[in-house]
Subunit: 163 residues, 2 copies
DNA sequence: ACCATTTATATAACTCGTTATATAAATTCA
DNA sequence: TGAATTTATATAACGAGTTATATAAATGGT
């Protein structure tokens, strides 16, 4: 196995490493879903899952709950609408806003996935995280919260001040 | 703070969540480097660091040690060469291979960063990961190794078999 | 010596994130 | 009431990853 420099650099290249691992996990998840005959990209299903859980959401709300930029959400929503899984309609009270909801096909896909696909994916990823020292999900949550609370640039300044 | 559906779904959306966090950490790292007057994208410096550490590498070797695809490495190497930080030359023994090395400017940037910038970045990220339950880097290593050892699709099959 | 196969890299095309900006609609203020 | 400002979304352009494929060079087999 070739030398892994991103791993070698530890904290310095954590961002690159997390992205890389995220892409690997997404690619693996993709394979499982394809085996079930589902061609949905891994990055798309939080959109369907969010609406299934919360009911119709606006474009901006979807961006917020998924944690990506609004133009990014707009694009993916457009793709899912084109695939016939999502439906867009202008909000009654505010014509700027667009309401995003599941189509029948979208709801069917979510129901099928909830029953037949996602539990397997979830169990496989859980299996991968077994035997770790401490809860990986809790650590991710701590890091996410910590980053929002005090960005790296502040942490660097504080670190210099304590030295 | 709006509801975070990617977090809610835990293991199911781990891939998306890791990518998202990776992008956040990279963006934060970017800000620190910009404060030092360095416009290098966060994803570029593993290239410089790898060559600084190992001496000149081929395109394929760089892709391997950084953990990305060969066309991805080709593109970034081209950009860094255009920025005057890397130099490409055909290998003596094999005209297919291209040797990638640091230019004077590239070496200067790495030396400066190693002295003035990267320790601060490293300390800030370490600070972010303080107070976690268990070593986050070790957990990442375990997950990476585990994924290579047995991809998710195998883990899903095994999980079904044990039930 | 020649042909088939393999290897290394470049290019094309795609996805999915970003920021910047444009456009339309709603709100606020004087 | 009208203009300025704010808000919601779409589009453009970019970066950085991917897969597929093309091209060139090296290797191996007969």
């Amino acid at each position: 196995m070739p030398h892994d420099i991103v791993k070698d650099f530890g904290y310095l290249t954590l961002g690159t490493r997390l992205r890389r691992l995220g892409e690997m996990v997404q690619a693996n998840t993709q394979l499982i879903m394809q085996q079930h005959g589902i061609d949905l990209p891994a990055a798309h299903y939080p959109f369907l899952a969010a609406i299934d859980r919360n009911g119709p959401l606006t474009v901006g709300e979807l961006a917020d709950v998924i944690g990506i930029s609004q133009p990014g959400a707009t694009r993916t929503i457009g793709q899912l609408a084109e695939a016939g899984l999502l439906d867009l309609s202008v909000s009654d009270g505010d014509q700027r806003r667009k309401q995003v909801s599941l189509t029948k096909a979208g709801q069917d896909l979510v129901d099928y996935s909830t029953r037949e696909v996602w539990p397997g994916v979830e169990a496989a990823v859980r299996n991968l995280c077994t035997d770790l020292d401490g809860s990986f999900l809790d650590q991710l949550a701590s890091i996410e919260d910590g980053l929002k609370l005090r960005p790296l640039i502040e942490r660097m300044k504080e670190d210099k001040e304590t030295k």
